[in-house]
Symmetry: none
Subunit: 219 residues, 2 copies
DNA sequence: TAAAGTTGTGTCAAAGTTGTGTCATGCCGC
DNA sequence: GCGGCATGACACAACTTTGACACAACTTTA
């Protein structure tokens, strides 16, 4: 799992970022001032640093100069919307910047973009204790590999990508099987059963009677 | 719930907008001059800004330049109906504009249109302590899930979308059942009873004698 | 080519949904 | 206030949908 360091003195913001990065499947560590940030960088190997500019102890620009030689990508977080700040950051070697306050979606998009640029993008999905490696087409639960067939895998991906959404049987079938759904067979149902069984997801894959299925998070 | 910021110096108008947006299920905050608006934008994450052009302190155009980099959609409110103003606003990056005085219906339509364009379209409905997740097709009351059948769910959505409106039995039936209403059976009535019971909405779902039903807010 | 694995389908039982009928109650015009 | 009609309350049976499972056709692998 990719490791991201967040250096941000406002704990509320740091936490918000951390929660969202965790949800998106990254390991995330927070530092609340520049010095703490420098220490963590010294000891841990991070794949990306999110760096606030205005920091106690050591400011963001200074920290940036320290990080750059390590080859770790950096995204600046800047509260000031002035053009000068952004330019200064980029000139010093930041890979991107985000103007606070930002939308979480934007944060994730930029994080992914930078990681991809560095060839570190890991195409993985996560749900509960299950992780899905899309490139390897491999699924693990608590670090143990679970063998899924092609259809089971595709179905799982479709469910996880649309978690908490009631997926209509016809749409679900058409997405996974790439053919029209007639509804006269037990094919979809059987595969759902097999997935539930293999993953132990009897609780999470809910039946929405007369509609289809929903992968549910909220228990 | 989606958050909308209204920047408008005429308190009467700001309030009117706020009330209507609240009714429609949005969280709404008002600012009465440009500076206040800028502060709020700085601190809060808004899904949409409604922006008057003529403002004390900082005018709408200036504020727009500040908002745009955040990726937040903006709808201009313009008193002047001159073509130039509208064009200037749209050119600067506004997503839409409304000429004052406007109809509330028009406001809501444009708000929804813009939010949809940004993929933020309201996916939840609220009424009293009940919230309805349209994607998940799940209903909760005070955070507890309430199981509804397909018909019950569709009926509920129809009622909530038309709260405080007397819905004629035939129209209601045809919308939910997608077939003509003959009126010879107790089908609709039964489903209304079931909804009332499951949600504890005996008070809110009123019978309009000889007409149909109305979901009532005003108690 | 045999063996192993995958996938679609059928059957049966169980579970859930939905329309309808009946009777009681309430509403409204007269 | 009364008669007639509309709705509430409720029970029930027909019907549909899904779970569970077995199996055969088919595909891939050794």
């Amino acid at each position: 799992m990719l490791k991201i360091l967040v250096v941000e003195d406002e704990q509320a913001i740091a936490n918000l970022i951390k929660i969202n990065l965790n949800d998106a499947g990254y390991a995330c560590v927070c530092a609340f001032d520049g010095k703490q940030g420098a220490d963590l960088i010294e000891n841990g190997e991070f794949d990306l640093v999110l760096l606030d500019i205005l920091l106690p102890e050591i400011d963001g620009y200074e920290l940036l100069e320290y990080i750059k030689p390590l080859g770790t990508p950096v995204i600046f977080l800047t509260a000031k919307g002035t053009v000068n700040d952004r330019i200064k950051g980029l000139r010093l070697g930041a890979d991107d910047y985000l103007v606070k306050p930002f939308q979480i979606g934007e944060l994730l998009a930029r994080v992914e973009a930078v990681l991809r640029r560095y060839g570190k993008a890991e195409k993985q999905l996560f749900f509960k204790e299950v992780s899905i490696n899309l490139d390897a087409r491999q699924v693990t639960k608590n670090r143990k590999v679970i063998d899924l067939t092609v259809k089971e895998f595709d179905l799982l991906v479709e469910l996880v990508r649309n978690k908490n959404v009631a997926l209509y049987r016809d749409r679900l079938y058409e997405r996974v099987w790439n053919e029209p759904f007639t509804g006269e067979t037990r094919t979809l149902d059987s595969h759902i059963q097999r997935l539930r069984k293999k993953l132990g997801w009897e609780e999470y894959i809910k039946t929405v009677f007369r509609i289809g299925y929903r992968l549910e998070d909220s228990i």
